[in-house]
Amino acid sequence: MNSSTRIRNCNELRRNIPWYLNGTLADKAAVILREHLQNCSDCQADFAIHAEMRASVLGRELAPLKPVTRAEDIIGDDTHGVGKLSGARSFTSRRVAVAASIAIFGVVLIVALYPENDADVGNQLFQTATSEGSTDGIDYVLQLQFERSVAESERARIAAQLNGAVKWAVNDKGVYEVHIKLAAPTLQGLKKYEEHAEALTGVQSAKFTALQLPMR
């Protein structure tokens, strides 16, 4: 085999590497590629990068929040083509607005029921929310911003270790949204929780959002 033929073979064969890796390449082509890879260092280098890509794509994932949508939310009552909603986006916005309204009402109610006489509640919440297993609590969303020097793996570790944290995701702006179970804290208690979270190394800011969605 002359060198030009070998190069042409290489270029053709290496383009099958992605499907060899994902297991969908036809058996015959897979055998040919496997044999070629054993003797071609250039293709081995390509294979290594593709393998890294695949491992990264399939690798660990920050625990995403579970989607809240149900099938009927998308199509509504409509049976004639266009869904009840003009678009799924408007559904999400409306749902968020309703949830936020309920949350604000809930916070006002809590403040009314519990006067601000518990300056240490936040500290207690922060220390004991998980150990008490407050799984009956409301799901609060804490938005965490990290200092730039903090690596993704460290961010995930910090988010996971927040007391009461049950799941989290990263939004469009790179802010971690951590769902936290807390059993009827006061507004001051929530503020104290924020202060304790902000005191953690690497955390730039920690703010609860008004949004509280029921766990599904």
Binding site: L21, A45, V57, R60, E61, L65, A71, I75, D172
Partner: protein, 201 residues
């Protein structure tokens, strides 16, 4: 023999699922809400995971997944059976995601700022972080193609159908994705010993 039998069973199972999907989609075209709910149960989790991985945003992933399924509800009658239902659905997701990625261009971060990663001590996780950042810097079509192939595990032909391009274009996109990733890793300040490990130099 056992292995061959399991392959046959797997293929049979796969074709059975594909046939069920077609029947469900035909019922959806006739406004059968129960059929839509069944397709929703099958595809919503997979779509959401795919789109979450692509956008790193819970809200964006959910909105895009909802948009895809709303399109399915409205356009089920347009499915002509030229591909598997799953490929058709992921084709809708491809177009929705491409529009999203173009609108919200990823802001690449410098690896040099991520010194803490080195101290994390877990070489595998560190490597994943670096490669993931590299994938995020790829042009939208290349990134989407990588996700279709590696996250969803589509065949070359299915990837081409979902993307609406010829097979040769899909292979070219994967070729350039690999080339661009290698250039990114080379230029991004990875320590020499780690770069050699990544790039197999």
């Amino acid at each position: 023999m056992t292995a061959n039998m399991s392959v046959v069973e797997s293929n049979k199972s796969s074709s059975d699922k594909a046939a069920v999907d077609v029947l469900l989609l035909q019922r959806v075209a006739k406004r059968d809400r129960g059929a839509f709910e069944e397709l929703f149960e099958i595809y919503h989790p997979r779509l959401f995971s795919f789109l979450f991985r692509l956008t790193s945003s819970h809200s964006a992933a959910e909105e895009l997944a909802n948009d895809v399924l709303l399109t399915l509800w409205k356009d089920a009658g347009r499915f002509r059976g030229a591909s598997k239902v799953s490929t058709w659905i992921f084709g809708i997701a491809y177009r929705q995601a491409l529009a999203h990625l173009r609108k919200h261009r990823f802001q690449a971060r410098s690896i040099r700022d991520e010194d803490a990663m080195v101290s994390a001590g877990d070489a595998r996780l560190e490597r994943e972080d670096w490669v993931r950042q590299g994938i995020d810097t790829l042009p939208a079509k290349q990134k989407l193609t990588v996700m279709l192939v590696y996250f969803l595990g589509l065949t070359c032909e299915e990837t081409a159908t979902a993307s609406g391009v010829p097979v040769s274009t899909v292979k070219t996109r994967m070729f350039h994705a690999r080339k661009n990733l290698k250039e990114y890793l080379t230029a991004s300040g990875i320590p020499e010993d780690r770069r050699k490990e990544f790039l197999n130099e």
